[in-house]
Symmetry: C2
Subunit: 495 residues, 2 copies
C-alpha cells in the first residue's frame, strides 16, 4: 500500500516538490477522540472566544502572503489573481462569521416566560437556543483550494457553531492544505483553544478513500461537511446513514445551473448576454459549482446573433488548465457521452491546448429541447468548460425546459421589461437555491441572505446553505431548557 504521495502541477504536468504522508488509521482515531475532548472543552467557552479564534485564523491566513497563492497555483493550475480573490473571500468569511458569533443572534434564542397562574396547569418557563452537534469532519473541494477546503466555509461555520473540526486534506493540493492548516493551528494556540479544536489529516495515495471512511464512521464524529462530486457525496451520505448512530452529511454535489433567456431580452441584448455567459463558462475554466451548464433560448429575434457571439467568443478563448488529470479525464468522458446524443452538435470550441499539462479549451454545444427532454444525460452536470445551448421553438417551451431541469444551486433568467417572467420564475424557484435575474449564475455573495444550496442532486440537504449566516445552523440543533435555574442557562438565554 502506498501511503506517501505528491501533488502535480496541472499547468505543466510536472510533480511538485514535497512528499506527503497519508495519516494512518491510528492517527485518524486519535484525532477524532481529541476532537471529542475539545468539544466538551468548548461547550463552556464564550461566543467572543470563538470570534477571536476566527479572526486569528483570518489574520494568520493573510500572513501567509504570496507564498500561499503560488503554492495553490502550482497545485491547482488556477491563476494567482483568481486565487487572491478566493483567499480574500476566505478571510472575509472567517471575519463575517466571527462578527455573527460575537453578535449572538444566530443561536435563535427564544424565551417563553412562565405563567404560574395559568389554568388548568401553570405554564413553565421555556428557553430555547441552538447548540453545537459535536466534532465535524470536513471534506474540501479541489476547485476552491482555499474557500471550500481546509479553512473554507464548512470549517469556518463549524468552528463558529462551537464544533471542533477534523479536516481530511484534499489529495490534489496537499501543500496548500498543510500551509493553511498550520495557520489555523497557530490561531488555535494563540487564542488558547484546546488543541483538538482543529486537526488536519493529510490524505492521498492508497489511503485516500479509507481515511474518509474512517472519519465518517468514527463514533466521535457527529456531522460531515462535503464539497465535491455527486458520486463522492452520495457515497459518504450512505455511509453516514448506515452507522449505528446515523449522522447528517451536508454534501454540496453536482449542479447544472440553467439560464433562461426570454425573447425580449434576447432581441435587445443578445451580444452582451452571450459575452456574460462565455465569461461564466470560462471562469476558472468552467470548474465552478455555479457554472451554467444549460442555456435556454427561443428561436427568433436575436437568436442567431446570440449563437454567433457565443461561438466567436468561445473560439477566441484560450485553453486553461484543468484542476488535475483526473478532473480532465472526467470532463472528457462526460463531454463524449453528451456529444454522442442524437441532435447534439458542437457550436464552438476554444483555442487548442498547448504543452503537456491538463489544459482544455471551452466547448459550446447545441441541442433541441426534445433531445434535452428525451436524454437524461444532457441534464447532468458536465464539470468543466462547457455549456449546452437548448433551442426552443416557442416561449412556452421554456416552461417545459424549466420543468425538466434537475435541482440546482442556482438558476438565472434574463428578461426585458416587456417579457413576462412570472410563470418561469415560479417554476425555477422550486428548482434552485438561488434565482438570479439579468445576470449569470456564477458569483456567490457572502452575506446573510445568500443561499448556496438547492434540491437534489445539487445537494443532499436542501434545507441548508453552505454560504451565508444560515450555514452555521447546519452544525447545531435546538435545545429547550424548562424551568431551569438561571445559573444553569447558557448565557444567551439569560435575557
Amino acid at each position: 500500500m502506498t501511503t506517501t504521495f505528491h501533488s502535480h502541477n496541472p499547468a505543466t504536468g510536472s510533480t511538485n516538490p514535497g512528499l506527503f504522508r497519508a495519516a494512518p488509521p491510528d492517527e485518524v482515531d486519535t484525532a477524532c477522540l481529541l476532537a471529542e475532548e475539545a468539544f466538551r472543552w468548548m461547550i463552556g467557552r464564550r461566543n467572543t472566544d470563538r470570534a477571536a479564534l476566527l479572526d486569528a485564523m483570518a489574520a494568520n491566513i493573510l500572513a501567509l502572503g504570496e507564498e500561499l497563492l503560488t503554492t495553490a497555483g502550482a497545485e491547482t493550475g488556477l491563476a494567482v489573481p483568481r486565487l487572491q480573490g478566493e483567499r480574500d473571500r476566505t478571510v472575509f468569511t472567517l471575519r463575517a462569521l466571527g462578527q455573527l458569533v460575537r453578535e449572538g443572534r444566530w443561536v435563535r434564542a427564544e424565551i417563553d416566560r412562565a405563567d404560574p397562574a395559568r389554568k388548568p396547569l401553570p405554564k413553565p418557563d421555556l428557553r430555547r437556543m441552538l447548540r453545537p452537534l459535536g466534532p465535524v469532519a470536513v471534506f474540501g473541494a479541489s476547485n476552491f483550494p482555499l474557500a471550500y477546503s481546509t479553512a473554507g466555509g464548512d470549517t469556518a461555520s463549524a468552528l463558529a457553531a462551537g464544533c471542533p473540526v477534523v479536516v481530511k486534506g484534499h489529495p490534489s493540493h496537499p501543500a496548500t492544505s498543510q500551509m493553511v492548516a498550520e495557520a489555523v493551528i497557530s490561531a488555535v494556540r494563540d487564542t488558547n483553544f484546546h488543541h483538538g479544536t482543529f486537526q488536519h489529516l493529510p490524505a492521498g495515495g492508497d489511503r485516500e478513500l479509507a481515511i474518509g471512511q474512517e472519519l465518517v464512521t468514527h463514533p466521535a464524529i457527529k456531522a460531515v461537511g462535503f464539497t465535491g462530486s455527486f458520486r463522492g457525496g452520495t457515497a459518504l451520505a450512505r455511509l453516514a446513514a448506515s452507522r449505528p448512530e446515523p449522522i447528517p452529511v451536508f454534501a454540496e454535489m453536482g449542479s447544472i445551473n440553467p439560464i433562461f433567456i426570454l425573447p425580449g431580452a434576447l432581441a435587445a441584448e443578445a451580444e452582451s448576454i452571450a459575452e456574460k455567459i462565455i465569461g461564466a463558462v470560462t471562469n476558472s475554466n468552467g470548474q465552478m459549482c455555479t457554472c451554467p451548464g444549460l442555456v435556454f433560448i427561443v428561436r427568433g429575434d436575436g437568436a442567431n446573433l446570440f449563437l454567433d457571439t457565443l461561438a466567436a467568443r468561445a473560439a477566441a478563448s484560450p485553453a486553461q488548465p484543468m484542476l488535475s488529470a483526473r478532473v480532465r479525464a472526467g470532463f472528457l468522458e462526460r463531454l463524449h457521452e453528451v456529444s454522442q446524443v442524437p441532435g447534439v452538435e458542437q457550436a464552438a470550441r476554444g483555442q487548442p491546448a498547448e504543452g503537456s499539462g491538463t489544459s482544455q479549451p471551452v466547448v459550446v454545444l447545441r441541442a433541441s429541447l426534445s433531445a434535452l427532454l428525451r436524454f437524461p444525460t444532457l441534464r447532468e452536470e458536465c464539470f468543466g468548460p462547457s455549456t449546452i445551448v437548448v433551442e426552443c421553438d416557442e416561449e412556452l417551451d421554456l416552461l417545459k425546459g424549466a420543468d425538466a431541469v434537475p435541482g440546482s444551486l442556482v438558476g438565472a433568467i434574463f428578461a426585458a421589461h416587456t417579457d413576462r417572467a412570472g410563470a418561469l420564475a415560479q417554476i425555477l424557484a422550486g428548482k434552485v437555491g438561488r434565482l438570479v435575474f439579468n445576470g449569470v449564475t456564477t458569483g456567490v455573495e457572502v452575506s446573510a441572505a445568500m443561499v448556496h444550496g438547492g434540491p437534489w442532486p445539487a445537494t443532499n440537504q436542501q434545507q441548508s446553505t453552505a454560504v451565508g449566516a444560515m450555514a452555521v445552523e447546519r452544525w447545531c440543533r435546538p435545545v429547550c431548557w424548562q424551568n431551569a435555574p438561571p445559573e444553569l442557562f447558557p448565557e444567551e438565554l439569560r435575557g
Copy 2:
C-alpha cells in the same frame, strides 16, 4: 388479500362498528398527483388564506363535539378527559400556527440591499425566505389519535408552511381518523382551497404497509412526517433515502426520557418526587413518547422512602387498557427481555387487569448502574406502563449514567438548592431535545420555545422539532432571489 378492516375497543376486546376499506394503489397514486396540483395552486396564495384554513379546521374539529371523543375512546381505550385535553391541544395548535402564519415572521425573510458602488464588484440585491417543499405524507401515531394523527402537529405545520398533505390513516383508529378528515375536508372547501390540499387514505388490513410504501416512494411526495416506533420510522427513512430523488423523513421514534434525582432533592422531597414520577409513568398508561423510562437515584438519605413510595403508589394504581393488542404484545415482549437481565428486579406491580381487554398494570423495576452500563436492552424504550429505577452508589455515578443514556426527546433533573447540577445538566443537554428541572418529562407545552425532538434514536432529524413554531420550518427550504424585479418577489420580501 384483505382490504377491509375493523377497529377494536381495547378496553373490552370487542370489535367496533364500521367496516373500513383500505385505499387501493390507484387511489394512493391519484391522491399524490392531486396533491402536486394543489401545491402549484397554493404557491401563489397568501399567508392569511392558510391561516383561515387552519382556523376553519380548528372550528370544524371542535364542532364534532362529544362524538369525536367517544369514538376515539372506543378505538384507543384512552379516557374521555384525556382525549378532551388532546382535542383542545390539537385545536390550540391549529390556531397558534394560524397566528404564526398570519404574522409572517416564520419565513425568516432576510434582505441584503444592493450596493452598486461597491468595489471591485457591485453588490447585488439578495432576498431570502423559506419556501414550502411540496406535498407531505403524514403517518400518525396510535397514542395520540388527535394531536399526532390526522390533523395533528405534522399536518397542521405542513399546511401552515404551504404544503398539501396526504394522510395515511392509522389502522387502530380509522373511525376517529375519518371523522377528523371529514372536518378538515370541509374546512378546505369552506375556505376555497384546492381539493388536493388535504387528503386522507384509510389504511389497514393487508394493505397497511403497502400504502405507506407507495406514499413514501411516490415522486410527487417531497417530505414525510412520522410519529411511531423506532422500527417503523427507520424503515420509512431508509425507503425515502433509496428513492431516485431522496426526500427527508421527520420521524419521531422511541425515547427513554431519563430522570436524575440529585441527593439533596432526594433527601428533601423523596415522597413528592416519587408521586410525580408514578403519575408520569401511568399517564395514558405509559403510552406517551415522553414517559420516563429510567430514573436515577443515589443510595442514601431518602432513597428508601423514595422506593417505598414509588412501590406503594404503583401497587395502588389500577390497570388501564393499552392502545391495542399489538401494542400490549410489544410491551410484554420488551418487559420480558428487560426482566431477564441479571440484576434487574421487580420493585412493584399495579392492580391486576380485569376483563378481556388489553388492560395492563404498571410495573416498576430496579437495576444497578453496572447492569445498565453492561446491558444495552435496559437503555432501549419499553413502550408502556413501566420504568426502571437505577440505583447508584455515589453522586458521580449519575454522570456515568447520563453519559450512557441514548438520545431522548426529554430528560429531567430534580435538584435542591444545595445540589450541584451543572455537570449533569451539561451532559444531558447534549442528549435531549428538552431538559426539565424539578418536574417530570411528560407535558409538552405548545409554544415558540418548545423543542420536541432530540438526538438519535429519539428522532432521525435532531435538527428539527415536532412541536412549536420551528416545526413549520421542517417542510421548507430557503430560497434566495437575486436582483429580482419587485413584482416577482413573494410578498414577504417586498419590505
